[in-house]
């Protein structure tokens, strides 16, 4: 989100799912959408069945990769690959010079930086055949409509934002942004990653991506809220943990997050949480994080016991509705917050809450929403009724009556410079290998990811009886297994510089020798995040889950 916001001013995917169906070329970069975003992949399949070409860039040959060409790069070499693609486009004069001239800045510097990444050099660095790199470059640049999609394979790195802008460079180079069918589509891992940011649940923005440091905007919100607002950015998650480490942050209120299992280098995280003066956890389960808490607030499940909106990866704001009553003493998140505010002396009233707990949650949620709409121009036209009638509404939606285009940044194609607005800058970034270096002691690169039937730490997905589930494994290439003297089913110890876990071995020919894979879905069985590294991108705060250096050894089971 940071990358897109930096280049274009808005942190959202630039296209819509329906547009993906019309694309001629689709690149899935660091994304196993077939398993992690299956219904998005349905739209990709429509395009493929209409004749579109799919390129998948992934260290693993995933089920997504099976649907087209596969660029099997080494973990953490995305920037090198992106440069090589860019160079191939430039030297073959396939770039969109008119678009570059009118709608971008910094091309000369980008071009210079890209020139060192010849096909040969990039092939050596990334492990991808030069011919495949060239094929992708030609196909992408030559397509009428092309989509560049990415997921956590790009963003779960210490240089996540650099990775993202290196992909955006390719769209600027070819003009594959701001047009119907051409765009940049980051796929969000959780159902409201987009909405959370849009709603201002990030340290530097108000709702609608409005900068906290902008005095005019701050004044608008101060007036609306009747409060002074500090003109400074807050901390993102990684910065909070750093602050805990320093002792600057001594109390935390955690809502619907399970950092005691989901954070990288989780032993360290647990140590920090345990050492807090005060920890409040609000969740639908007694999670591992909740077990560490001083106070646990049982909450309603947001997706079916509450009401409100979430925003998806195509910027579609959709209604969440209450279908069942929450069990026991579990309370709605909104009520808990309102009640807490009331106890602190703030007499807030939204649709009757917190005083009248029997007031319908839909009314409360709508009252909250209607407070926001006048303050956020991109949400202005989205009444609850209209969202319901239209099957969700995509931002920006400034008008009460009209719908805008389904894609963003069409302004970049305007002939009039004023309409075009701020040009989109190319970014010059450096290729850097992952922080956790592979050495003779830790020779194997471990990467993590999701499986089709499971979700994150399994808090929600572990309880249904999936016939596909077989628990945590350490997946290795058969050649590595042979070298290590293990066969499928053997227990293996996986050690990193931070810790060790044990898991049964599974063979996967879709890996390459030297690359291993684990999920993080079964922390009760195997606490994979004990070994991952918390090296995080300073701007996005995302840890480098995708690249851990490990050693794998057979566990000798004594009889």
């Amino acid at each position: 989100m940071v990358g897109l916001a930096t280049v274009f001013g808005a942190g959202g995917g630039t296209s819509s799912y329906a547009e993906v169906e019309t694309a001629n070329v689709i690149i899935m970069w660091g994304s196993n959408a077939r398993e992690a975003h299956p219904i998005f992949f349905h739209h990709v399949l429509k395009a493929i069945n209409n004749g579109a070409q799919l390129f998948t860039i992934d260290p693993r040959r995933t089920t997504t990769a099976a649907f087209g060409e596969h660029l099997q790069l080494h973990v953490g070499t995305d920037i090198a690959l992106a440069y090589a693609i860019g160079r191939e486009i430039i030297v073959n004069e396939l770039d969109n010079a008119a678009f570059i001239n009118s709608a971008t800045t910094g091309f000369a510097e980008y071009r210079e930086a890209a020139m060192e990444w010849t096909l040969e050099k990039a092939s050596a660095e990334t492990g991808v055949d030069a011919s495949l790199i060239s094929d992708l470059a030609h196909a992408y640049a030559g397509a009428d409509r092309a989509q560049l999609c990415w997921t956590l394979g790009i963003t779960e790195h210490h240089n996540a934002v650099d990775n993202v802008v290196s992909l955006i460079n390719l769209a600027l180079l070819t003009g594959h942004v701001g047009r119907h069918g051409s765009g940049l589509s980051p796929l969000r891992g959780q159902n409201n990653v987009q909405g959370g940011g849009d709603m201002g649940a990030i340290p530097n923005r108000f709702v609608g991506f409005q900068d906290i440091l902008d005095p005019e905007i701050r004044a608008k919100f101060e007036t609306a809220y009747g409060r002074d607002i500090m003109p400074e950015y807050g901390w993102h998650l990684t910065q909070m943990f750093e602050a805990m480490d320093r002792g600057d942050l001594r109390a935390a209120y955690v809502i619907g997050e399970n950092p005691a299992q989901s954070e990288a280098d989780v032993a360290h995280t647990r140590h920090l949480l345990t050492n807090l003066d005060h920890l409040v956890v609000q969740d639908i389960f007694l999670t591992k994080t909740a077990e560490l808490a001083d106070v646990v607030l049982p909450a309603a499940a947001a997706w079916c016991e509450s009401a409100g909106t979430v925003t998806n990866s195509e910027r579609r704001v959709q209604r969440v509705r209450k279908a069942v009553d929450s069990p026991g003493e579990a309370r709605d998140d909104m009520w808990i917050i309102l009640e807490m505010a009331r106890l602190m002396g703030a007499e807030w009233n939204y649709g009757g809450w917190p005083h009248d707990r029997s007031a319908p949650v839909e009314i409360v949620a709508e009252a909250v929403w209607d407070e926001l709409r006048p303050l956020s121009p991109m949400h202005h036209g989205m009444s609850y009724e209209r969202i319901a009638n239209e099957g969700g509404l995509q931002w920006p939606c400034p008008s009460d009556t009209e719908l805008g285009p389904t894609f963003l940044h069409g302004r970049l194609w305007a002939t009039n410079a004023d309409e075009r607005g701020r040009p989109a800058p190319f970014s010059v970034v450096q290729h850097e290998l992952p922080v956790d270096e592979c050495t003779s002691e830790y020779p194997i690169r471990l990467t993590t990811g999701r499986r089709l039937d499971s979700y994150n730490t399994g808090v929600q997905s572990a309880s249904f009886a999936s016939p596909l589930r077989f628990g945590e494994t350490i997946d290795v290439h058969p050649a590595d297994a042979a070298a290590l003297g293990v066969v499928a089913g053997d227990m293996a110890r996986v050690s990193s510089r931070r810790g060790a876990v044990e898991a049964p071995v599974r063979l996967d020919e879709g890996l390459r020798p030297g690359l291993a894979f684990m999920t993080f879905h079964f922390p009760e069985q195997v606490d994979v995040n004990l070994i991952t590294i918390e090296a995080a991108d300073p701007r996005s705060g995302t840890s480098e889950f995708k690249a851990t250096a490990v050693r794998i050894e057979k566990v000798l089971v004594s009889v």
Partner: protein, 286 residues
């Protein structure tokens, strides 16, 4: 897109090229029975319950898939049409269990169909098979299957592209099947349940619903349907939660929604049990 008129039951109906006769009927408020037609799938026109009479055609034509052409003269209530619909309903009702098929009884009344005319244990063959309950998520009862092909099409190229099932065998012995009639758990199935979603006869049902029906607790009058958004991943699939007695027992997705077109993945369709009160017993209470 050209526009033209056709005649349906004596009414002039404006059509656009590419529209089906069924669309023309619907625009006039003519209720046409359909089973193999689904709004998200290309109709297989295999069930033949929607047949109408087209002047100049030797045989009746399927409204669901026959495209309108300028000047067509259609009859939907002629004796020939009514007799055909009646017999198709009787053939269906005599060969499989239609008790969980929406509208079937109503259509039988409308067309004076009496499937029992063709049901007699010694004289008439019925499809009977023990339900296949080989996984914990959905059951298959082919005694209810009318071979409309919707499940096959949903699993195949039209949506899921998994190709786990097809129609095996020939004629009356045809069955929806995985290779070598293996259990689902030994197939390519990824349990998206998009086949279950399009099944018109209840041959495919979520196991939760299957058990409720089996033990007799299934009570439509105590059920609600609420549409919300899936908690897994950021695609934003709309989920319609089917709830009875404050428990979710089935999840579907609106077929007219631009994100899903009625489709879901295993998590969205079946991953709802964590909110059940039984699973949250470890919540502290005050």
């Amino acid at each position: 897109m050209s526009e033209f008129n056709i005649s349906i039951d004596g009414m002039d109906v404006a059509m656009e090229s590419g529209q089906t006769i069924l669309a023309g009927c619907s625009s006039q408020g003519i209720d046409t029975p359909t089973l193999c037609y689904g709004d998200t799938l290309t109709p297989k026109n295999a069930c033949r319950v929607c047949m109408v009479e087209l002047e100049g055609s030797r045989v009746l034509v399927p409204a669901c898939s026959r495209k309108a052409e300028p000047g067509m003269v259609i009859h939907t209530e002629s004796d020939r049409v009514n007799q055909s619909r009646k017999m198709v309903l009787e053939l269906l009702g005599s060969s499989v269990d239609m008790s969980q098929t929406d509208h079937f009884e109503e259509w039988c009344d409308r067309y004076d169909a009496h499937p029992e005319r063709l049901i007699s244990p010694d004289a008439h063959t019925r499809v009977y098979e023990d339900p296949k309950l080989d996984n914990d998520l959905y059951g298959r009862d082919y005694s209810k299957c009318i071979l409309c092909y919707k499940c096959v099409d949903a699993c195949g190229e039209q949506w899921q592209n998994t190709f786990a099932i097809s129609v095996a065998g020939r004629g009356f012995k045809s069955r929806i099947s995985v290779e070598f009639d293996a259990p689902m758990t030994d197939s390519a199935c990824v349990y998206c349940g998009n086949c279950v979603a399009v099944c018109p006869t209840g041959a495919l049902t979520p196991m939760t619903e299957y058990h409720m029906r089996k033990v007799g607790t299934f009570a439509p009058e105590r059920q609600t349907e609420t549409t919300t958004v899936c908690p897994y991943c950021g695609v934003g699939c709309n989920l319609t939660l089917h709830v009875q007695d404050n428990e979710i027992f089935k999840v579907t997705s609106p077929s007219d929604h631009s994100v899903t077109h009625g489709n879901l993945c295993i998590k969205g369709r079946f991953g709802f049990s964590h909110v059940s009160i039984n699973r949250r017993g470890n919540l502290p209470v005050d």
